[in-house]
């Protein structure tokens, strides 16, 4: 027993040396990610870190945006603000509302050049008190990711880099690497029509945690694990309602 405690403490120390601050015990910082939480050190979603999300296809981009919106929604619970940096106006603010985000608290920044996006993201990550910073940056190299990670270690802001249609996958200094794809929607009662949105979430890398993959569903304003049975039942034939 004493041994496991010691190992746990050593894990903590290593994480702190790697720049990962322990997450404060406030409810605002906690993200209800359902079963995914088991993968994280201390079973708490690591805030104050950079997460990269890779989405190889254009339609996966929407799934990733929604998943990030779900996480941001809980980060912004106490009336925080977040910054979303992208190349063009593509996010539709009313669509964020269902993920618990007040869309008028999101500051959208549109920049054409990748270099500018990097600069803006670093500047935003240095602003203490922001709930989160999201940027759509397909090509993230190690140096940039290191700079971003250093910025958040000081300020404690959580950063998400959405890498849509990336060209190459280099090693980066990010704390977590996610790959998110959309899955067939789920209706608990097996009703026809489009149900609650689902994701196939793959956590490919997590500092101090255990990677894994899950099937999640967004229901009643938070993430749940998809019941195993529904995976088969969702493959129903085409039906029209409306």
């Amino acid at each position: 027993m004493a041994r496991t405690d010691m190992i746990a403490r050593l894990h903590q120390d290593i994480l702190r040396m790697q720049g990962q601050q322990p997450v404060a015990d406030s409810s605002a910082g906690k993200v209800a990610l359902g079963p995914v939480l088991d993968a994280f050190p201390d079973k708490v979603f690591p805030t104050g870190a950079i997460h990269e999300c890779i989405s190889p296809t254009p339609s996966a981009a929407a799934a990733t945006s929604g998943f990030i919106a779900g996480i941001l929604g809980s980060l912004m619970k106490n009336g925080g603000a977040c910054v979303w940096i992208s190349r063009e106006k593509i996010i539709f603010p009313p669509g964020l509302k269902s993920f618990g985000i007040e869309p008028d608290r999101v500051l959208f920044i549109h920049l054409r050049k990748e270099k500018d996006i990097c600069w803006a993201m670093e500047a935003a990550l240095q602003a203490e008190g922001l709930a989160g910073v999201v940027s759509e940056l397909p090509n993230l190299d190690f140096t940039v990711s290191r700079r971003l990670q250093l910025a958040v270690e000081k300020s404690g802001v959580t950063g998400f880099v959405l890498r849509h249609q990336l060209r190459q996958l280099h090693p980066t200094a990010c704390v977590g690497r996610w790959q998110i794809a959309s899955g067939a929607s789920y209706h608990p009662d097996g009703m026809s029509g489009v149900g609650f949105p689902c994701w196939n979430v793959e956590l490919q890398k997590i500092r101090g945690g255990r990677p894994g993959s899950w099937r999640l569903v967004w229901m009643d304003g938070c993430f749940h694990e998809l019941p195993a049975a529904s995976v088969i039942s969702s493959q129903t034939v085409f039906r029209k309602i409306g």
Binding site: L107, H110, G129, L130
Partner: protein, 499 residues
């Protein structure tokens, strides 16, 4: 006690021309413009004047006097352009500089001269500097605009100083034209043997008014300081403006930074005292060669933090080229608003306050350009493109709540993209659709949600939106434009992506 300076440029156009084309120096040249069918001389160089050529002469007559006379075209408006540039240059001697067409400048120098060690040194400095630029000038300082104007032009001395209250004495020996009168009035005075101002200044005012009109009385009163004369400054004076003159010209970045810090410090102290914050600031550098370089910053919330403002300026200091040196810095705050003491009105949060957020936005817009930060508020429209509007201010609150009763995609295409579909029967969602060469087979669908175009805003067909999910579990927002008619295929579009 108010003091005014009049600067007269007797050879403004000729010297301006030499400054532009250096090879003209010491040559006999004139500027000429067509006048009633012949070329008339409008400006003469010093060398040409020495040969007896004067303004108003016909070019042909001038050629007869001087064989190698060069005739250049007179550009209309050149004098005014030169004077405006010179007026801006003078702003580092006094904040109030005005152009006095056709060939002079008027400066309000009240309280400025002591910085140069007295009026005589002040005037000498201006004269020497203008001489360095190539201009001959006559300068007069007096208690009124009228007296300074008269003394500069008619005293035949390079620098004239007249104590306030002694204008009458100073003006007495001068000819009546020194009062800025019309030619007819001057001629009439001449005819009556009134050759100097002293001859008539003590005459009965009613008699003067009757014979020469009210203008003479007005001009006399203005010259003697009995009547106020307005001066229209080239640049309106900013209430929040700080200046810093340098002993030695500054050419290094660190020098500019020190000057900027000092100016920001004093300006912010003043702002704090006045309970104000600046929204826009301009930092100007006056160079030795007469050029002015300036950089500008804007803030999202009224700011009075020197450190933050310095950070914003720091991104742009590179744009100032010191060239041979900067002799004076000026910091202005053209837009000032009441300071906000209640940060966190909108973004109220235990960790984040408005000040810090505004500072971040200032840095972003300062570096990357205006118009990159957008914030959206709900608008009362169902039409997707019109359902959001951009917030103008950081503090603007939503007028209505965000509607969440209908499904809306997370990503919306800037413009709907046409897709090819197979739809079984009217009002049914399609069975499959093809977008960018990829076939999506639809497994589940919801809809239709009909959204009408608002006829009072624009004309066109309504849209019937469907939420569809394909075999891979990806969800899309499709719509059919208009009614299903049967005789021609319906047009379908992809408009967004759901989670």
């Amino acid at each position: 006690m108010r003091r005014f300076m009049a600067i007269w440029f007797p050879h403004l156009l000729a010297e301006g021309m030499i400054r532009r084309r250096h090879e003209l120096k010491d040559t006999v040249f004139v500027l000429a413009a067509p006048d009633r069918g012949r070329m008339c001389i409008t400006a003469v160089s010093v060398a040409a004047q020495a040969q007896g050529i004067y303004v108003g002469m016909a070019v042909a007559d001038g050629r007869a006097l001087a064989s190698g006379l060069q005739v250049l075209d007179h550009e209309p408006g050149m004098g005014q352009k030169l004077l405006i540039a010179l007026g801006y240059w003078c702003i580092h001697y006094t904040p109030v500089a005005a152009v006095d067409l056709p060939d002079g400048l008027l400066l309000d120098v009240s309280g400025c001269a002591h910085l140069w060690g007295g009026e005589i040194k002040y005037a000498e400095d201006i004269q020497n500097r203008l001489k360095g630029l190539g201009y001959t000038v006559h300068i007069a300082i007096a208690g009124t605009i009228g007296a300074a104007w008269a003394l500069a032009r008619y005293q035949r001395q390079a620098i004239v100083l007249a104590a306030s209250g002694e204008e009458k004495k100073a003006l007495s020996p001068l000819p009546p034209a020194a009062l800025r009168l019309e030619t007819t009035v001057v001629e009439r005075l001449q005819k009556l043997g009134l050759y100097t101002i002293g001859h008539f200044i003590n005459m009965q005012r009613s008699a003067l008014r009757r014979r020469f009109g009210a203008v003479l009385i007005d001009r006399m009163d203005q010259a003697l300081g009995w009547k106020e004369e307005p001066l229209i400054p080239l640049q309106p004076i900013e209430p929040y403006r700080e200046r810093l003159s340098c002993l030695e010209p500054i050419i290094t970045r660190s020098g500019i930074e020190i000057a900027l810090k000092q100016l920001l410090h004093t300006l912010c102290e003043r702002l704090i005292k006045g309970d104000k914050g600046l929204r826009k600031a301009v930092f100007k550098a006056y160079r030795i060669d007469g050029e002015i370089r300036q950089i500008e910053i804007g803030t999202h919330l009224p700011s009075q933090q020197p450190a933050h403002l310095f950070k914003l300026f720091e991104l742009k200091i590179n744009q100032i080229e010191p060239a041979s040196g900067i002799e004076q810095f000026v910091l202005e705050a053209p837009v000032v608003e009441k300071a906000m003491h209640d940060p966190g009105m909108l973004w109220h949060n235990h960790t984040l306050n408005d000040g810090r957020l505004a500072e971040l936005l200032d840095r972003l817009t300062g570096k990357l350009g205006k118009g990159i930060v957008h914030r959206y508020l709900p608008a009362e429209h169902f039409w997707p493109e019109r359902s959001v509007k951009e917030a103008q201010e950081l503090h603007e609150q939503p007028a209505t709540v965000w509607a969440s009763d209908r499904p809306r995609p997370v990503r919306l295409l800037p413009a709907p993209e046409p897709v090819e579909v197979t739809a079984p029967i009217p009002d049914y969602p399609p069975m499959n659709f093809c977008h960018k060469g990829i076939l999506h087979i639809i497994k589940k669908a919801d809809g239709p949600e009909r959204i009408e175009r608002e006829w009072w805003i624009d004309q066109g067909m309504h849209r019937d939106y469907y939420v569809v999910e394909d075999e891979k579990g990806e969800r899309f927002w499709l719509f059919r434009l208009g009614h299903y008619t049967g005789d021609q295929p319906c047009r379908w579009y992809l408009h967004g992506f759901f989670v």
